[in-house]
Amino acid sequence: MNPTLPHTDTLTIQLAIVAVLLPLAASLLNLVLVKSQSKVSGWLSSFAILGSMVLSVLVFAKVWNQPALHAQQLWFVVGTMQVDVGIWLNNLSVLMLLLVTAVALPVHVYSIAYLKGDDKYTRYFAYLSFFCFAMLALVIVDNLVLLYAFWELVGFASYLLIGFWFIREKAVLANKKAFIMNRIGDVALLTGILLLYADFHTFNLVTLFDNHATAAFIGTADNYWITLPGACFLIGAIAKSAQFPLHTWLPDAMEGPTSVSALIHAATMVAAGIFLLARVYVLFSPNVLMVMTIIGCFTAFMAATIALTQNDLKRILAYSTISQLGFMMMAMGVGAYSSALLHLAAHAFFKCLLFLSAGVIIHEMQHLKEKHNLDIDPQDINNMGGLGKYMPVTFITCIIASLALIGFPLTSGCLSKDGILVQAFLWADNKGGFYIIIPVMGVLTSLLTIFYISRLLFKVFLGKSRLKAVMPAWHIEAHDGSPLFKIPMIFLALCSLFPLFSTNPFEYEHSWIYRGFAIAVHTVSALDYHTIVLLSINVLVIPIAYFAYSIYVKQKFSFKTTSLLFKISFNEWYIDRFYHRIIVKDILRIGDLTKWLDKNVLDGTIHLFANTGVAIGKLTVWTDKYIIDGLITMLTLIIKQAGNFVRGFQTGRVQNYLFTMLLVIVVIYVLKTFI
């Protein structure tokens, strides 16, 4: 430890370290000591993460809006270069610390019930704790090597957890895909880190980015050598945060347990990309930022359109996640640094909640499926419907989360999303002209978000059970499940509401998270009409979309729940036609198109790359076998044939020998004397 730090700071740092190490300890204990399938493991991990959370709160309280804390210790020396291990606690890292533990805790608790009876129960918690360790470490480390290390380790944990049910072929394919696509980003990130090292001869984030000299250097340095690492970091983030074009692993990753999706593939790991961008934000040159904006914006839009037509519950949520991450990235790109982080935090809670709800639903559906021996996909929303009355808690929490996702006032999403859109408009204003398309697309995406999440809600919770239509004799017996399901969901639902983030439910500028970062980067004053415009968009669009959607699923409507809205759907005919023909159909077509693109072109391209790799592999094998080895064989063959030629003189006839000998002698003599 750095001895010059005051005692309290040392303590804070130690607390942070303990917070990080607790899950690791739990993980190791689970792996090594705890008997497999023992109940202990779940509680062990949960308590570990609880401890982490408590410590995180303490650390947070110490550090938030205080000067950053930094401590390091020599790790090893290579040549003249010292590589340190250290932690760097600033607003960003403590926020993430808190966020990760806060999201992880409910997921842990939830998992205790969710994974009950699985034959690899202990293993699951070991992995989960390991993930938490890696994630927590990722957010507090102070140097790029360690950052990279934990960056990969979270990916590794994700790999383990996606393929948790490794007997399922799809799960295994998915985890391979996830790891390899993440690796693409990792390699880019590594390259970026190494390029930075080549420029600055240090890995230390503090030296690199918390230092005005560096910033000055970056300003003056040869642009190329700064842009390039920046771009590399961006690619790393794109892969981790599942942005176009490296996003296809995330939907597939849903093969893992739902609780894992909730924690890793919704709340934390995928957000690590955004976190990375935030950590090295100084590095990005305007060009890179522009790319970031475009990619984020496009991904948000694209994923939203895809989500429109998915039938798999978790896939919809996965695309939703991609879309929201796109938002964050776009925010980063347009300079809405703090809003991006705000959205990150808010999104973590409500998306986690959505997944947990989905988990409960799937759990119940699976239960039904097994009980009645049905041949259905428990994740297909077409098989659901009307579950709301059996699962009230799930229903309500889900609605809250959905509203947050939409950005409905009084939820956290409202704060963060508005912030992003407003700043995007401002950014476009500054840039002028054509750039307006970015915020417009953002708004459009928001509308689509409303569309698909409504669809999800309605299809799952409202209307009649479609299963009942198939088998009328069947009696639905779904319920919310154990309190271990309910408590985490309620906790998360509460966290999805505005009070956690701001006292003012409409002004994102008042959010403490926003304030915590606003000074750090840009101060954007947004006191103009944008707020109003955006708010009105949000408020207005909800009924319209809801309307459109209710018509879309008209036949399965139950009057009880829609009676209020029934009057408003007065003009359903024209609007229905209108929407259905012009908007719904087209949008759906776009959705289909993007889905198709996603499936065939993008995934196809990736497969193509993979296949090309294998093809090149085959080619090299061929080269190896026939060309390189062939050359060797040919050489031996030549030698052998030469030997055979020489042997040809050995006829066994002495006169032939003599003849050859004399001839050679004559030739030698002639050559010798006459040439």
């Binding site: 003849f659 004399l662 001839l663 004559v666 003599y669 002639v670």
Partner: protein
Amino acid sequence: MEQIVFFVLGFVVLASALTVAASKNLVRSIFMFFVTLFALAGLYVFALADFVAITQVVIYVGGVLVLMLFAFMLTNKEVLNNLQQGSKRFISLQKLPALLVAVLFLLILVNAIIKAQPDNLAWIQASAQSGNVISPTDNMVPNIGISLMTRYLLPFEAVSIFLMMALIGAAHLARKEEHKF
């Protein structure tokens, strides 16, 4: 006169040797070889080496040739006759390579000998001047005798062991002995 005899002898040597080469019949070639050796002995005499000439006659004609005849007789005649059926002509396709080499050698040798100008070699000139040349009147036998006992004593003695060894060996090879077991 002397010249004529010399050339006649030379011609006989070459002609008989050629006959040896051309002849299919082993017996004939052995006899023509006999002629060659005799003619050569004559040439030795012309080169003032009478003792060598005598030795030639004694050892070659008396020894080697007789040996060859014996060998010839010991080997089955019929087989040999069969061999002779092969080709009758002196120049046949099979012999072409041999002829080629022989002619090549001839060209080279003649060229080399003429280039060397043997009659004008420095040491021969010097010998001629210093009288270190054997004249027809010299009796070379004692000379050879002295040489053998002094200057060439070592080869002389060594040859005795050599001959002894050859004798042992040849006798071993030629002797017939029943299998002891």
